[in-house]
C-alpha cells in the first residue's frame, strides 16, 4: 500500500525561493566526495530540503528517493544545478522512480563533458591567461578580475538550477541535441587560447653559442631557433609532454619531476 501511495501526485510544490536555494545548495555536491560513489553523498545533501518539501509527510517516499539519489554520480559542478533542477521538477510531478533515476544516470555523463569543456578547459585558461598578464606586473587588477569572474560564476548556479527546473523534461532532448555542438564550439575556443598560452607563458631560452670560425659564434636561440619560428621550443616541449601523457599514459607528477631534473641538468651544463 505504501508503494502505491508514492505514485499519486499529491506532492508539495517548490516555490521560486526553493529552486534558488537548490542552486545555492549545489555547493554541497562534493561535500563528501569519495571513490566509492563520488559525489552521490553530497548530491543527496544538496537535494534534501527540496525532496523533504516535495514528499511532505510521506516518509516512505522520501526515504525511497534519498536512497535512489545515493547512487554513483560524478558530474561537473556547474552543470550539477541544472540536473538538480530537472530532477526536482520530475519528483514534483510524481514521475516513476525508475524514470527519474534513469534520466539522472543517463544525463550526468554528457553534462560533465559539456561542463568541463566550458568551465575547466575554456573559461579557466582564458581568465587565468588574461589576469596573469596583469598580475605579473604586480597589478591588483589580476586577482580582482579573477575573483569577480568566479563570484559571478557561483551566482550563475541559481539561473542554471531554474533553467533545469522550468524546462523539465523538455530539457532532455535539448541537452542531448546540443551538448555535442556546444562542447565542440567550446573546444575550438579552448584550443585557440591554449595555443596562445603556450606561446606566451612557456619560456625556454637556450644560452649556448656555437663557434663556427675563429672569433665568430652563432647564438643558438637568437640566430637559429628564433629565425625558424619564435617560441618553437615551448611548442615542441608541450607537444612532447602531450604525447607522453596521451600515448604513453605517463603520470603528470612524473612529468613535473622530469621537467625539474631536465631544467636543473641543463642549468648545470649552462645550456639553459
Amino acid at each position: 500500500m505504501e508503494s502505491k501511495k508514492t505514485e499519486t501526485p499529491k506532492r508539495g510544490k517548490l516555490t521560486k525561493h526553493d529552486v534558488r536555494m537548490l542552486g545555492i545548495r549545489s555547493l554541497f555536491n562534493q561535500s563528501a566526495m569519495n571513490y566509492e560513489r563520488m559525489q552521490a553523498d553530497g548530491w543527496t545533501l544538496a537535494m534534501m530540503p527540496a525532496l523533504k518539501k516535495i514528499y511532505k509527510d510521506d516518509k516512505e517516499g522520501l526515504a525511497d528517493s534519498l536512497k535512489s539519489n545515493l547512487q554513483f554520480i560524478n558530474t561537473n559542478n556547474y552543470t550539477a544545478p541544472l540536473l538538480m533542477g530537472l530532477e526536482a521538477s520530475l519528483e514534483e510531478n510524481g514521475e516513476k522512480r525508475s524514470t527519474i533515476d534513469g534520466l539522472r544516470i543517463a544525463l550526468f555523463g554528457p553534462l560533465a563533458g559539456i561542463g568541463d569543456a566550458i568551465t575547466w578547459f575554456t573559461i579557466l585558461p582564458i581568465v587565468a591567461g588574461i589576469t596573469a598578464s596583469f598580475a605579473k606586473q604586480g597589478s591588483i587588477l589580476g586577482p580582482l578580475i579573477f575573483f569577480l569572474v568566479y563570484l559571478a560564476m557561483f551566482f550563475a548556479r541559481i539561473p542554471i538550477a531554474q533553467l533545469g527546473y522550468t524546462t523539465g523534461t523538455k530539457a532532455i532532448s535539448k541537452i542531448r541535441e546540443n551538448s555535442a555542438i556546444v562542447s565542440h564550439a567550446a573546444s575550438v575556443l579552448g584550443c585557440t587560447v591554449i595555443g596562445g598560452l603556450i606561446a606566451t607563458y612557456v619560456q625556454i631560452t637556450v644560452k649556448t653559442k656555437i663557434p663556427v670560425s675563429a672569433g665568430h659564434t652563432i647564438a643558438l636561440q637568437t640566430q637559429f631557433f628564433d629565425r625558424i619560428f619564435p617560441n618553437i621550443l615551448p611548442l615542441g616541449y608541450t607537444f612532447l609532454l602531450y604525447w607522453l601523457l596521451k600515448k604513453k599514459n605517463v603520470s603528470p607528477v612524473i612529468l613535473i619531476l622530469a621537467t625539474f631534473i631536465f631544467a636543473i641538468l641543463f642549468s648545470w651544463l649552462g645550456v639553459l
Binding site: N34, T44, L70, I126, V188, C191, V193, G195, I256
Partner: protein, 269 residues
C-alpha cells in the same frame, strides 16, 4: 624575512577557508591567483603575492581536478611559493619549484581522503533509508570539516615550522641549482597545457591550436585578449556551421524516409 607566529596562524586560517572552497569548488579562492595574493597580504608584501599569483596560476592552469582526479595541490603551491620567496629572498619563479614538494604532499593527503571517506557511505545509506535527514546532514558534512582542518594544520606546520630548515637549505644551494629551479618554474606551465590538450585536443582541433599559437607569437599586446577574441570568432563560426549540419542531416533523413515510403506505395500498386 621571518614569518611571525601570528602570520603563520592567519595563513593557517586562510588555508582552512580555501581548503573547504577547493573541496566544494565553490568560489575558486583556492586557485593560486587568489591564494598567493592573500598570502602576500598577510605577510605584508602584497606586490610579491600578486606577482607570484600570476606565475603560479599559469604553472597550474592545466592541473585541474576534472572527473574526480587530484592534481598537485594549488593551495599549498600558492602559499609556499609566496612564503619561500618571502623568507629566502629568491624570485617567485624559483620559489614555485621549491614549493612543489609541499603541493604534492597535499595532493596525496586528499587522495587518501577520497578512499577513506568511502567508509561513511554505509552509515549514510542507513540514515537515508530511515529518513533521518538531520543525522544525514551532519555526517555528510563531516568530510568537509576534516579536510578543512587538515589544510589548516598542514599549512601552519609547513609555513611556520619548516621555515628555518627551508631557509638553510635554500641558502646552501649553488647558483646552478637555484637557477635550475627558476627555469623549471618557467617551463612548468607546459605540463599543465599538455594535460589540457590531453583532455581536449583531437586532430580536428589542431588548426585552432596553431592559429592561437601564431597569433600570440606575432600580436604584440599586453594580454591574451586578442587571441581570446579570435577564439570566440572561430567558435561562433564552428557553432553555426555544426548547427546547420545537424539541421540538414534531419532534413535529409526526412527526405529519405519520404522516398522510402513512396517506394513502398509504388510496390503496393
Amino acid at each position: 624575512m621571518q614569518v611571525t607566529l601570528m602570520q603563520g596562524i592567519l595563513i593557517g586560517i586562510f588555508a582552512i577557508i580555501s581548503g573547504i572552497d577547493f573541496w566544494w569548488e565553490g568560489f575558486y579562492i583556492f586557485r593560486p591567483m587568489i591564494v598567493c595574493t592573500i598570502t602576500g597580504m598577510i605577510l605584508g608584501n602584497i606586490t610579491l603575492g600578486i606577482v607570484a599569483a600570476g606565475l603560479t596560476e599559469l604553472a597550474f592552469a592545466g592541473l585541474t581536478p576534472v572527473g574526480g582526479t587530484q592534481p598537485p595541490n594549488p593551495i599549498m603551491a600558492g602559499i609556499m611559493t609566496v612564503v619561500l620567496a618571502y623568507t629566502t629572498g629568491k624570485s617567485p619563479a624559483t620559489a614555485i619549484g621549491l614549493a612543489l614538494p609541499f603541493s604534492i604532499l597535499m595532493q596525496y593527503i586528499i587522495l587518501f581522503y577520497y578512499s577513506a571517506f568511502s567508509v561513511l557511505t554505509k552509515k549514510l545509506d542507513t540514515y537515508a533509508a530511515n529518513g533521518e535527514t538531520k543525522k544525514y546532514t551532519q555526517l555528510a558534512l563531516l568530510p568537509t570539516w576534516i579536510v578543512g582542518l587538515s589544510y589548516g594544520i598542514i599549512a601552519f606546520l609547513c609555513v611556520y615550522g619548516a621555515q628555518a630548515p627551508m631557509k638553510d637549505l635554500v641558502n646552501s644551494m649553488p647558483v646552478w641549482l637555484s637557477h635550475g629551479f627558476e627555469i623549471a618554474g618557467s617551463i612548468l606551465p607546459a605540463v599543465g597545457f599538455g594535460l589540457l590538450l590531453k583532455s581536449m585536443l583531437k586532430a580536428r582541433y589542431v588548426p585552432y591550436l596553431l592559429i592561437g599559437f601564431t597569433a600570440a607569437c606575432f600580436i604584440k599586446f599586453g594580454n591574451l585578449m586578442p587571441v581570446a577574441v579570435i577564439g570566440v570568432a572561430l567558435a561562433l563560426i564552428e557553432y553555426n556551421r555544426s548547427k546547420k549540419d545537424a539541421e540538414n542531416e534531419k532534413k535529409m533523413k526526412a527526405v529519405m524516409e519520404n522516398a522510402n515510403n513512396n517506394g513502398d506505395d509504388e510496390d503496393g500498386i
